[in-house]
Symmetry: C2
Amino acid sequence: MNWQAVDRYAKSLIKEAGHKIRISFFNKIHIDSKADPNDLVTNIDREIEQFFISRIQRDFPTHKIFGEEGFGDNIVSLDGIIWILDPIDGTMNFVHQKRNFAISLGIYAEGVGMLGYIYDVMGDDFYHAAKGEGAYFNDELLPELEPTPIHEAIVGINARWVAPNRYVNNEKIMDLITTCRGTRSYGSAAMELSYVASGRLDAYISTRLSPWDIAGGIIIAQEVGAVATNFNGDKPGLLSQEPFIVARPGLHEQILTNYIEMKK
Amino acid sequence: MNWQAVDRYAKSLIKEAGHKIRISFFNKIHIDSKADPNDLVTNIDREIEQFFISRIQRDFPTHKIFGEEGFGDNIVSLDGIIWILDPIDGTMNFVHQKRNFAISLGIYAEGVGMLGYIYDVMGDDFYHAAKGEGAYFNDELLPELEPTPIHEAIVGINARWVAPNRYVNNEKIMDLITTCRGTRSYGSAAMELSYVASGRLDAYISTRLSPWDIAGGIIIAQEVGAVATNFNGDKPGLLSQEPFIVARPGLHEQILTNYIEMKK
């Protein structure tokens, strides 16, 4: 596989998709919700996923596609080459804000992350990484992340997990948010991963993410030394929803040990 | 007073300050903290405030200046014409993220908001309003805000207030965040106010803000029909720190009545 050629192809495809999303605001967007009434999806999410699939199937017919909107392949293992795609990560922001959403793409070979991309479409900020080659913000090489003490850390976390919930002990989360320097919440896991990779956040935590939310971002984050795992400290699974934490080295272990207590 | 001329002057001054802030990233920034170790201030906050003051004193010698960094006048009443300035709102973001901070400026005549500005310096997004003339996002007139039901609302609130705190009953805040569609937290009151004015957030709540955090934003928000008050439902004070809520009409009353219970 000529990964440099795949990289050039993927970048160009993502930029073209970003352009399609920007011009979609000229027309009325059709909004539906999924099982959860707050889990929104639009015709644009669907059209952009179909755009990716038609191009990838034409140009890389042996590759498989695992996408949020379900138009890709039925993926039950990580065998072969798989493009794991979220056409619009942060659909609620796309609908309500017309900004703060991202295209997220990770390309995996036999389960190993080879190429990762996060494109903040309205900010025109492009994050990308190739395995072993470092991670880039636009054309700038991102530096290796240094440790940060918890009391100087800014943590990305949704306020929802500070209230009682079925996933984690919220009293421990209260300890976390009163110990760290500050918290932020942007409503797009991919954007929050890109913020950890570029040092704008020191950690990001979510109790439940899907493979397409993180597949691109973890490749980028790992190239700068961030640690990304589920709440057991294991490598994130890429076949089902799981809890997720990514953080600077050291801080990851500290948060997981002292502040995350999963409910049985 | 020729307010149109003041408006042109203020816009030009803010853009020039924004340029100074952007080029400040070429040099090392000196960071101090105030009484609270997480309340950061830098040499750039101070230099930008002094830049505004020197220009305003030269060109409008009868006007007073009320600024976060304390280089302006000692303001004990709202008599006369007062420029209420935060040179960098969101200093923690300025330091940690090099983005997501804003210049905030409100110009008041005998306590009445005449001109309001919020400039997202790195995003180059300029929000402005003149009393009775509507509010603008860049050069686009912002539409009047329509009511939104609470279960479809996105609320700007820091996770800190979901944990026990000395200002509000956090159990009520838990009810709010589990009832609304979603929450966000950006770490800059001025940016969050600009998001409410432009419909990107439906409400924004903070337990304690200073006059310079809100002075520009409330003029902009009110021009599109948003309601801005303290937690008693009164007009925000502009001489001291107070709790603050701004929201779409209807939603403001609903949140204040059902979800905000101040501690004695």
